[in-house]
Symmetry: C2
Subunit: 349 residues, 2 copies
Amino acid sequence: MQFYSYLKEAIAMKFNYLYFITIGLFFLSCESTEVKQVETEADPLPSWNDGELKELIIQFVEKTTDIQSNDYVDIENRIATFDNDGTLWSEQPLYFQLAFAIDRIKEMAVDHPEWNEEEPFRSLLENDMDSLKKQGVQAIMKIVTTTHAGMTTEEFTQLVKDWTTESKHPRFDRAYTDLIYQPMLELLDYLRDHNYRTYIISGGGMDFMRAWTYDAYKIPSDQVFGSTIKTKFDYNDGMPVIRRLAEIDFIDDKEGKPVGIHRFIGKRPIFAAGNSDGDLQMVQWATSGEGPRFGLFIHHTDGEREYAYDRNSAIGHFDKAWDEALDKGWSIVDMKNDWKVIYPFELKE
Amino acid sequence: MQFYSYLKEAIAMKFNYLYFITIGLFFLSCESTEVKQVETEADPLPSWNDGELKELIIQFVEKTTDIQSNDYVDIENRIATFDNDGTLWSEQPLYFQLAFAIDRIKEMAVDHPEWNEEEPFRSLLENDMDSLKKQGVQAIMKIVTTTHAGMTTEEFTQLVKDWTTESKHPRFDRAYTDLIYQPMLELLDYLRDHNYRTYIISGGGMDFMRAWTYDAYKIPSDQVFGSTIKTKFDYNDGMPVIRRLAEIDFIDDKEGKPVGIHRFIGKRPIFAAGNSDGDLQMVQWATSGEGPRFGLFIHHTDGEREYAYDRNSAIGHFDKAWDEALDKGWSIVDMKNDWKVIYPFELKE
């Protein structure tokens, strides 16, 4: 960013005293050609192959943050929302949160011998996935509420943290939190470097994500929204806790995503990224406002380095959103051709 | 803040590039004694009378932001939550949001002649507050849903904005948004200057507040949470809107406040301020965690400059929370004696 436009932004921002300290120090500093060093920018998206898509992203960020551009957006409105499963990390062979739930059931089964006779636990413990699928949504709900409720919020966070350090993805034999997308990390950083706020708006469980999203993506809990179960305040004799109840509160998917965005952020995003039909309404909402807008879909085309799936996949079903992306001219990442690496660990190999 | 601790904080913060530009400029700048100018701080709370309470607040902020203190709190956990009605602005002779609803009913009545015969509208239009009170919560709910639902979120925001510029408080003959507390504005600024994030957690309507809280308090929509009604995404032939439905979603009061804080922020605040029994659970939650904690209640003691009320008032009922504040040693503002001015306009008179 030009230092000139940085100054203008500082004035536009009004209240952030850090800016004023920066400006103060700038004026106090003697004339020095070295100041130009801070203006030099390297490739902000090094894991993205050069091409039209990368160029479009960079153009969008530059024009929305250059005060002299007609498409300039003030800092308060630089809101970018991201789906999580399949957009920021992998979601195959099944949603990682479901893998967590299954691991929990297996762990809890030691204290529940009756589960050997009781569905859906019996099928799950015998790895009878066909039988499990036939039991439908009710079975999944029972597994989720059994594993995600009945403890305090702090206990649940600890369970998720333990799981992310102890469990391994079956194909990659790595922690699930290693399977985040390096190019998306760069995109998140690039947006934040230009004073965008980056939010997760996911169909996945809000508290499940918050246990690890700061370490993985540098996204703090108050910028992570997802599906929720009901909770209850318990004074607990002066040592208050919040207890997780076995009742769904809000499903943050499809039409739920714009509703969740309104509740959680209160502004319409100007940039939204997803990978499946569950993200369609979020991208419709973000891209239909006035001024510059960016809609982005991740197309999973790389069966070798990750997974290849779209219209025929139950997980990450990408069908109506694909058609509409083509129709409306939203950007589509072709993972195989647009991304130099998929995961951060590839950079170290 | 000492520049040394500022540098340490910058490192702790990791990701904010503004810090690094600041640091870069600092090292690029020649030696200059003038740099010390940025360290000088004036009284951060000029509208607070000197005394124990003011000293306690300043001590708390200093110790939690001085990296060399045992009570240092990293930036990610500097969360401060504030009630709104009676804590950041006045709430008498009745909640300002209720005044908005009543004004709306009177405006809408032109198109609803049947309301002259229909309760609770008849009582309201005839200013028969006794009859209205007898009709209880159901009547209030009907007034709220009639005036707060049935439009898009953008239309509702505009209605509130129009009301805040056009309507006047009956006693002060000023816009309701002029009746915010100058000492609390200074406290919000002071906390933010030390990298606290300041949230509103109010029993009042979330969208009602978001229409004006940024202008009034510099608190953006994604840091304003309150009670909500249900909303629904409507694709609306490619011009999507979010519609407000006549159904309560969440009451952010009493036990609801810690639940709302968990959902909206995902961290336990270390500083919480309220003024009534509706804030008790929020302050219990904030003050019972580990490490340094600050609980603050505003006691309305100034009938001349504002209003005097506590245990016997239906609005801003301050009874159990008062007892517990005394018992637990939470801080209590005595408005009459602790505040030099109540409202910002007094400074200009």
